[in-house]
Symmetry: C2
C-alpha cells in the first residue's frame, strides 16, 4: 500500500532516497530550505531516471511513473503532512541537525518516524529531550542508496524498539537491505568494519610491507570477491566442513597472534597520508578523479544488476 514519505534535504543523498521510495510505489514529498534547491533536485532526478531505467534500477517502473510520485513541498509542514516516514539528509553538522529536529518534532504528527541519513552523528546528539524523541533514529545509507541496498538503522537510547522494527520493515519493503544495532554505537557497523580493515591497510603501507596498489589488489582480486555476495562470517563458515568452529580451530590462534601485532594504535600522520596519496595520484591523477567516480557508479550499478540476475537464476536472494 503506497504511503507518503517526506524527504528533507535534496542533495545527492536526498535525491537518491527520493528515487528509492518512489520506484517502490510511495508518494514522495521533497523539501529543502534553500531557495530553489528542491526545484533543481526535481530536474536532476528527471534527468537521471532514463539511465536508471536502462540499468534496470527502477524495479520495472517507467521514469515517468517514478517521477509522477515525487512532488515539491514549499514548506516543511507540507512535506510532513500525513508522512509515515521522514528521511532527513541535511548537512553533517550537529548544530544543524539539532535545530532541524526541534522543528521536525514540533511539526510532524506523533506517529511519523524521523530518520536521519547521518553517516556519523549518533541520534542522541540531536534528539535528546524532544517530546517525540522515541521516534527519532539513524537510517544511514551507503551512497548512493538507489544503487547500494544497505541501510544501517541505529537507535538512540530512547528510541522505541517498535520504531526500529517499523523502519527495518519499511526499508526491506522498498527493496533495501536493512541492518540494525541493539544500541547506539560510534561509527555504526559499516565504518567500524571498514575502520578495522583500513587501520591494518595503513599499517602495512607505513611499515613498508607492500604498496597501496597491492593492498587494493588483495581485496579487489581476492577476498572482496566473496565479500560482495557473502559476508565475512559466511565466508569463514564455508571454509571448513565443520563451519565456524572448524575454521576457528584451524586459524583462531593465527588470528589471535596477528591481533596482538595489530593492537598498537597508529595515527594517520600527514607523512603517511602523503605517502598513500602519492601512490594513488600516480595511479589516478586528480584530473581523472571525477571520471573514475562516474565509472565506479556505473560498475556498482552493473554489479547490483549481476547479483540480482544470479539470485533469480539460482533462486537465492
Amino acid at each position: 500500500m503506497p504511503s507518503k514519505i517526506a524527504i528533507v534535504g535534496t542533495g545527492l543523498v536526498g535525491r537518491a532516497w527520493s528515487i528509492v521510495f518512489a520506484r517502490a510505489g510511495h508518494d514522495v514529498s521533497i523539501f529543502d530550505p534553500m531557495e530553489g534547491a528542491s526545484a533543481k533536485a526535481l530536474e536532476l532526478i528527471a534527468q537521471n531516471l532514463p539511465a536508471l531505467a536502462e540499468a534496470n534500477l527502477l524495479r520495472g517502473e517507467t521514469p515517468a511513473a517514478v517521477l509522477s510520485r515525487i512532488s515539491r513541498a514549499d514548506i516543511l509542514e507540507e512535506a510532513l503532512a500525513n508522512a509515515v516516514h521522514c528521511q532527513e539528509s541535511a548537512p553533517e553538522r550537529v548544530e544543524v541537525k539539532a535545530a532541524l529536529y526541534k522543528e521536525l518534532d514540533r511539526i510532524a504528527a506523533p506517529e511519523t518516524v524521523l530518520a536521519s541519513s547521518t553517516s556519523g552523528i549518533p541520534a542522541s546528539q540531536f534528539s535528546e529531550g524532544l517530546a517525540g524523541q522515541r521516534r527519532v533514529l539513524v537510517a544511514h545509507p551507503i551512497n548512493p542508496p538507489h544503487i547500494i541496498p544497505l541501510v544501517e538503522i541505529v537507535p538512540a537510547p530512547w528510541t522505541d524498539p517498535a520504531i526500529v522494527t517499523q523502519t527495518r520493515d519499511l526499508m526491506a519493503a522498498v527493496g533495501q537491505s536493512p541492518i540494525s544495532t541493539t544500541r547506539e554505537i560510534n561509527g555504526f557497523i559499516v565504518n567500524r568494519l571498514q575502520g578495522a580493515l583500513l587501520a591494518e591497510a595503513f599499517r602495512l603501507v607505513e611499515d613498508g610491507v607492500c604498496s597501496v596498489a597491492d593492498v587494493d589488489a588483495a581485496i579487489a582480486d581476492g577476498l572482496g570477491l566473496r565479500w560482495s555476495f557473502i559476508g565475512p562470517f559466511e565466508t569463514i563458515d564455508l571454509n571448513s566442513a565443520r563451519g565456524v568452529p572448524g575454521y576457528c580451530d584451524m586459524l583462531g590462534q593465527l588470528y589471535y597472534d596477528l591481533a596482538k601485532e595489530q593492537a598498537d594504535l597508529r595515527e594517520w600522520t600527514p607523512d603517511l597520508v602523503a605517502k598513500i596519496d602519492e601512490q594513488r595520484r600516480a595511479a589516478l591523477p586528480l584530473s581523472e578523479h571525477q571520471a573514475r567516480q562516474d565509472w565506479r557508479d556505473r560498475r556498482l550499478a552493473a554489479l547490483v544488476g549481476h547479483k540480482r540476475e544470479q539470485a533469480q537464476k539460482d533462486g537465492t536472494s
Copy 2:
C-alpha cells in the same frame, strides 16, 4: 613461450594450479607421492574442464587442449626436470614441508623456482640452510586459484629479490593477480586484512551489538560491493574530491577514536564461537553446507566472468 611447470601435491589446490598454468599454454607435470593420487587428479581435472570451458574460465582454450598439456610424473625427478617453476601444494605441516623442500632443493636445477602454496607457514621455516634457499618463496593463492586471480608472493629473508620479480611476472603472464611483500610477515597480506575485519566482527557479536547476519549484510550488501572491484584505498580515495587527504581530514579522527575502542585484544572463546555457529546453523544447516560451497564457487566464477566482461566493455582492467 610455453615453459614447463612442476606441480607437487595434487589435492584441490594442486589441481587448480595445474589448470591455471595449462590454460595459459604451459606444459604441466604433476606429481604426488601418494600411490594413485596423480592419476586420480588427472581424472578429476578432465571431469571439471568442460564446466570451466562453459563458464569461460579456460582463456578460450578447449578442454582437450588444456588436458593435453598436463601429464603425470611417476617420480619427483621427472616432474622437476627442466621446470622453470615448481608450485608445491603439500599438506600444511611444517615438518612435511621441511622434509619436502630438502628433496626439492636437492633434485631441482638451481634455476628452478620453488614456490609454496602454504596459507600460513613462512618460507623461512622450511628453507633455512638449503643450498638453494635463495629460490624458495611463498606463492599463496586464494582458493580456488583457477577462479580467483590473487596470489600473494612472500619471500623468506634470504630469497633473491629477482626470484620475487620473476614469480610476479610469471603469475601475471598466466592471468593471475600477483601482489608481493618486501619482507616476510605473519599472515601475509590477505589474512592480516581479513583478521582485522574479523576481530571487529567477532567483537560486535560478542558485545550483542548486532547479529551475525547483519554483519554479513553490512559487507555483502554494502562495502563489499565496492571492494569486489576497487580496493579499500581506492574506495576512500574516490570518496573525497581531494582524494585520500580529503577523506582523512573528514574521517581520520572518527577512525582514530574507533581504533582506540578496537584496541582491546579479544580471544575467540568457545562460548563466542558457539554463539556465532548457532546463528550460522540456523541460517544454513550443516547438511546443506556442501551445496552452499558449490553455489559459492559457481557465484565466484560468474562474478569473475562479470568483471572480465565489464573491463572489456569499458577498457579498464
